[in-house]
């Protein structure tokens, strides 16, 4: 365009890869809790997803004739892979992870123009696609605290779908708390009965996982890698709407705390919904976007067909982003306050 390089002439302050690496670091505490409660499954999924993501990214860059190095180094594909792996059940067969990741990277990211141009969060597109296509595999969570399910057992299942001797699929998998609450409420049980009956440790695991993602997320806000508006809007709106519904029927509606600390709430609020490329970018728009996600999350969990709704809530709001951004432009300097 212009012949001369234009101002400012200052050294680079930051880079996309630094930001992505920070996100990956912030995911570590949550991931460790996964490892502690659910064994190696998630870690194995993560490795498979990472390999797939890098391979697909490289392939697509090659096909689209983009320089490999800077784009592979930006780390965005790695973040997509890790987020998807964290959302997948512990007992996911390898092909599930591969298909989900490849779909996310190839279709949701590169066919839309690659980094910066994709309107939908690639990890969530991959997840949603899997959930629709393979509902059984997508709900195969190992209950926490099975000490005798070793790394090799996990690996064997992931690669060959073979369970250790003497175990069958239904006996070792179990629904997540959200799932459980949903089906049990459908069977006319009260919240108290459900919570009382469900295995405490399992709930505790999800509580811890969410707590750790909350911690990692706050760290990211502190490091200014993500903004505070979107997570806050999601959590507050989820809290408010679940309180409103829980007050009249505490027996039939899970408490707000239950919503905040189960499923992918914190992962979604701090790591998925804040993906800058697909989120709203104006300050007011970010509040609207976050509230939309929080409310949709509750709606899908309570009345929808799926136990958790992070993926769909985020994708639906992704769709609304261009409109939100257009109508929430900040007041320009000197413009009358309205």
């Amino acid at each position: 365009m212009a012949v001369l390089q234009s101002s400012p002439h200052t050294p680079p302050q930051n880079s996309v890869s630094n930001m992505m690496v920070a996100v990956l670091y912030a995911l570590i505490p949550g991931t460790l809790v996964y490892l502690y409660f659910f064994g190696w499954g998630t870690i194995i999924n993560m490795l498979i997803a990472l390999l797939t993501a890098v391979a697909c990214e490289a392939l697509m860059l090659k096909l689209r004739q983009r320089p490999l190095r800077p784009f592979l180094m930006d780390g965005s594909a790695l973040v997509t892979a890790v987020l998807l792996a964290l959302a997948l059940p512990t007992l996911a067969p390898w092909w599930l992870t591969v298909i989900g990741t490849a779909f996310g990277i190839i279709i949701a990211k590169h066919l839309y123009g690659g980094l910066g141009y994709n309107p939908f969060n690639p990890a969530m597109v991959g997840y949603a696609m899997l959930l629709i296509s393979f509902p059984r595999e997508m709900t195969a969570w190992l209950p926490s605290g099975i000490e005798d399910f070793t790394f090799l057992d996990s690996l064997r299942y992931t690669l060959f779908e073979v369970l250790p001797h003497g175990r069958d699929y239904d006996s070792i998998t179990m629904a997540t708390p959200l799932d459980l609450v949903k089906t049990q409420l459908g069977l006319d049980h009260t919240m108290e009965e459900i919570i009382g009956n469900s295995r405490g440790l399992f709930q505790q695991a999800w509580g811890w996982i969410n707590l750790m993602f909350l911690f990692g997320g706050i760290l990211l806000i502190y490091m200014k890698v993500i903004g505070w508006r979107i997570p806050l809007a999601i959590l507050v709106s989820l809290f408010v709407i679940s309180t409103l519904f829980a007050i009249p029927d505490p027996d039939l509606r899970p408490s707000p705390w239950f919503h905040l600390f189960s499923g992918a709430t914190m992962l979604g609020a701090f790591f998925i919904a804040t993906d800058p490329v697909t989120a709203a970018t104006t300050p007011r728009g970010q509040f609207i976007y976050g509230c939309g996600i929080g409310i949709l999350l509750y709606v899908i969990r309570t009345w929808g067909g799926y136990p958790d709704g992070v993926a769909f809530a985020v994708l639906l709001m992704n769709m609304a982003v261009p409109t939100i951004d257009y109508y929430t432009q900040p007041r320009v300097f000197g413009e009358e306050r309205d």
Partner: protein, 555 residues
């Protein structure tokens, strides 16, 4: 005096100052160069027009080129000597294009023309003051270079409440204003008083960033007791770009100047501290603006410093004086790192707006290739104009010039904050400049096309009218003939009437032509040239008009 309430503006950056290195020593006078290259355009507005010829001898301070229009400023000889050429030379401009310059060979005598000082400015009324300031070629020395006398003319409908002297100097590395405030605090106040008189301003504020404590103290000390009643000297937080006019006004008064408005609409006028000194020199000493302080700095220099430089001194002369040899690995900027531009040639001259020459290590200040925008919004968090730089970029990139204006492109002050923080290292400001230039060009084209269309429409109208007139004439003639027949009168009468009418028409036409021609006699060659140029443009426009009309026909 210090308990002034302050506001703050949105966004901005806290940048490392890098100012101390060039403030260790007092301002040194740079030597008179052998040859000075003085561009005729050193300001915003139309270029000055040379009034000297090659070969002519001139005295220091003598006018070399005069202001052509209202928004323009004259140019003066920075030393005595001989004009050797008037030609295109490389000039300091972001576009990198050359410009017309008056090349002056100094005779070493540095002999002043006869000066006309006005020791007591109160004897001059505001309009006379403005003329003095205009003739001295004073323009805003803070960077933009807008002719100062215009900003000393509030106009009949405005009254000035607050006159602000901008001593913020918010860009890193630049220290010329800080040095000036330290070395000549009283001169600044003298200039301020003159400006206040010209504007009939009620109160004055001198604003200084709080990283220039020394300058602040010295200015406060230089203030006479009774002056403190109407002059406040205020320290403001060091946040880039607090020296931007709109930002500074916001900080000091809490008022935001709406886009497309001027501070004067809110009763505020803003001038730079160095401009105030130039005004004092022009009025009290009669000296035109022929020199300025330039910061020559950068980590790579052995001795960064501030120099008092004659306008027109080539950069290379300053380099020699400071024993600096440019290297391939270095980059030389005019201005600071945030808003300065790379100079195309080491021989370009110092002009009225050259506040700083900054030498940078190319490697340390170059950015890696740009990545796509990830919409992280950091740019929007720091934009002092509260724009959405990412959206501006998106639409500028897509050349969607309507949308880019919807997002307030023209409120962008090109401060560079957004590009500074962008993790994708996108040269955002470059895109905004590009979009602005394109839009201006399109608008010019559109105006031209509109004119052509109007001409074409007028032509059609004229043809139509002619047709109607012809018909009317025929009808009239017929009617006359008819009448003649009817009344049984001779044909002679009607013929006579017709001849008379024709004569009257010819006479009218002749008169009209002579009216048109009236100004065409006694033209200077230059006027003739202008007229020819105009004609040429018209011809071209007509061509556009005809092609357009054929387009229309084929539709």
């Amino acid at each position: 005096m210090t308990s002034q309430r302050l506001w703050h503006f949105f966004g901005g950056l806290r940048l490392a100052g890098h100012k101390a290195m060039s403030m260790k020593e007092p301002v040194k006078a740079a030597p008179i160069p052998k040859q000075l290259v003085i561009p005729v355009q050193q300001h915003i507005g139309s270029a000055a027009e040379p009034i000297v010829k090659p070969g002519e001898r001139v005295l220091k301070g003598q006018m070399l080129a005069r202001a052509t229009e209202y928004v323009s400023a004259p140019i003066h000889a920075s030393t005595s000597g001989k004009v050797v050429a008037i030609e295109e030379r490389p000039v300091p401009h972001p576009s990198g294009l050359p410009g017309l310059c008056i090349v002056l060979e100094s005779d070493g005598e540095d002999r002043w023309k006869e000066l006309q000082p006005h020791p007591d400015y109160t004897e001059l009324d505001p309009s006379a003051l403005r003329n003095v300031i205009r003739d001295a070629g004073i323009v805003g020395l803070g960077g933009a270079g807008f002719p100062s006398f215009i900003k000393l003319n509030p106009g009949p409908d405005n009254s000035v409440d607050t006159l602000i002297l901008n001593g913020a100097e918010c860009e890193p590395y630049i220290t010329c204003d800080a040095m000036l405030m330290q070395e000549h605090p009283r001169r600044i106040i003298d200039g301020l008083l003159i400006m206040k008189h010209a504007l009939r301003a009620k109160q004055c504020i001198i604003a200084i960033e709080d990283n220039k404590k020394v300058a602040h103290t010295l200015l406060v000390n230089a203030l006479h007791e009774h002056e403190a009643e109407f002059i406040k000297i205020v320290q403001i937080p060091t946040i880039y770009p607090t020296g931007g006019e709109k930002q500074l006004i916001k900080v000091l008064t809490g008022k935001e100047i709406p886009s497309h408005h001027l501070p004067i609409n809110l009763g505020i006028i803003c001038h730079n501290v160095a401009t105030a000194v130039a005004v004092a020199d022009a009025v009290e000493l009669g000296k035109p603006l022929i020199s300025r302080i330039v910061t020559f700095t950068g980590e790579l220099l052995s001795k960064p410093c501030n120099l008092e430089v004659l306008i027109g001194t080539p950069f290379s002369d300053l380099f020699d004086f400071c024993h600096y040899q440019p290297k391939e690995s270095e980059r030389i900027l005019m201005g600071g790192p945030m808003m300065g531009f790379i100079i195309p040639d080491n021989h370009i001259p110092v002009i009225k707006t050259t506040n700083c020459i900054l030498v940078q290590d190319k490697q340390k200040t170059s950015r890696p290739p740009a990545m796509p925008c990830i919409r992280c919004g950091r740019c929007a968090d720091v934009c002092p104009a509260r724009l959405l730089p990412q959206q501006l970029y998106w639409y500028a990139h897509a050349k969607d010039f309507d949308k880019v204006q919807d997002y307030h492109l023209f409120d962008c002050i090109e401060c560079g904050c957004c590009a500074h923080v962008c993790p994708s290292n996108i040269p955002l400001v470059q895109y905004y400049r590009f979009a602005k230039t394109e839009i201006w060009a399109q608008e010019r084209e559109k105006k031209k096309a509109d004119l052509a269309r109007r001409r074409h429409e007028f032509k059609l109208f004229r043809l139509e009218r002619k047709k109607q007139e012809d018909e009317a004439r025929k009808r009239r003639k017929k009617a006359l003939l008819q009448k003649a027949k009817d009344t049984g009168g001779t044909e002679k009468d009607s013929k006579k009437a017709e001849i008379e009418a024709a004569l009257a028409r010819v006479k009218a036409k002749r008169e009209q032509q002579s009216r048109q021609r009236k100004n065409v006699e006694n033209l200077t060659p230059q006027q003739q040239q202008t007229i020819e140029a105009v004609e040429e443009r018209r011809r071209r426009l007509r061509n556009i008009g005809t092609t357009e009309s054929t387009d229309k026909d084929s539709d």
